[in-house]
Symmetry: C2
Subunit: 205 residues, 2 copies
DNA sequence: TTAATAATGAACACATTGTTGATTAGTCCC
DNA sequence: GGGACTAATCAACAATGTGTTCATTATTAA
């Protein structure tokens, strides 16, 4: 690991800035925030901010990237676990394991997630989240795809599913977050295997 | 209609500003644009901008709202046409009619759409597009839902499908836009009725 | 304890904003 | 075509935020 011990002051300062970012994003959305706002809320000199970040966009990107890295780490840890049987999750009414962990993580960071994925959030972060989803789907399911039986180009299937999953996450965050991570995961798993039409009782089975 | 004749100069000025907006968004993304940039590109005095828009965010919102209104109008026009038979579209390998018109409209305005729905775009516009999708789905399909057979809460079905559709639109805009509006619509229709799993040959039929 | 370095405070030039008031130019309509 | 409106122009303004600097103070690692 390239983790040479970092000065406590730096860690402390960065944490305070990021906490301020979360709070202020809830208050006024990212675009309304100034560097002065951030440092005032964090109780820090304005110049100090520029010791660590180029500007507020740099701050946002670094914060986002840390989240994405953690999610990717999550996915890798569960890689072996899910490789052995893909469809059986559905058969046994069990969700794809990665999803449960994902939703648990979202829950832990809900205030930041709610803003960043909301209508005042950052569309590039949405794209990053979809990318994580896509990687995970490819890893767990792509092998099972019957290329000759595909009714739709593969890239469109991925675009469809990863975006759908993101949409469910967003809906969950916007509403009361009543459903548990497990319930959410089951919703997505059913949708994936049965499809919206069948799930809604539209199509005769 | 509340369309009292508007001074030519106003129409001309507004059109030039909006054209400049599209071009500049492609160049540097919305956030990088200044009012001075816009008026320079539009060959207009900077003060004139403020005669019509409060700030650049106001400009963006007005532009977006016009698009949404047109889409809603499209949807209403086709309302009767699609109400008579919902599932038969799928049986006959025909797409839901609204979708074809939607994709045609996107194609006509592709440069603006590509930026506004892309990673440097506006998440609130994404939300508006999803809202249009949702309304349309409710109008055409919700009646057919067998409430007692629903395997997933209805609001999650809508969140899933509308977001999935948006994702396919985004993927289309980001790639080469090879597929025709009709092909795209068929992709979405198949996904809706068969589901991702079956479409990809994952699930035995 | 000491050498290193992070944080502070104040100041700076610079860019962008949104507004104002006087003037010029284009449009509408009789 | 002429006169009344009013949109567009131009220049200037204060206000706000940006990113950088430099000397000074405070905290940390060892």
């Amino acid at each position: 690991m390239s983790e040479q011990t970092i000065d406590r002051r730096i860690i402390r300062t960065k944490r305070m800035i990021r906490d301020a970012l979360t709070v202020l994003m809830e208050e006024k959305g990212f675009e309304g925030i100034t560097v002065a706002d951030l440092t005032a809320k964090a109780d820090i000199n304005r110049g100090t901010f520029y010791l660590h970040y180029r500007d507020k966009y740099d701050l946002l990107e670094q914060s986002e990237n840390e989240i994405i890295q953690k999610l990717n780490k999550l996915a890798v840890e569960l890689q072996n676990l899910s490789a052995d049987d893909a469809i059986s999750f559905f058969d046994q009414n069990k969700p794809v394991p990665f999803l449960v962990n994902l939703f648990e993580y979202l829950l832990e960071n809900k205030s930041f997630m709610k803003v960043i994925l909301g209508p005042k959030g950052d569309p590039s972060f949405q794209a990053k989240i979809k990318e994580v989803m896509k990687k995970n789907l490819q890893q767990n399911l792509s092998i099972r795809f019957k290329k000759e039986k595909m009714l739709v180009p593969e890239d469109y299937v991925f675009a469809y599913v990863s975006s759908a999953h993101l949409g469910v996450i967003q809906h969950w965050l916007e509403s009361e977050m009543k459903e548990s991570p497990l319930e959410l995961s089951l919703i997505l798993t059913k949708m994936l295997f049965l499809g919206p039409g069948q799930v809604a009782g539209l199509v005769r089975t």
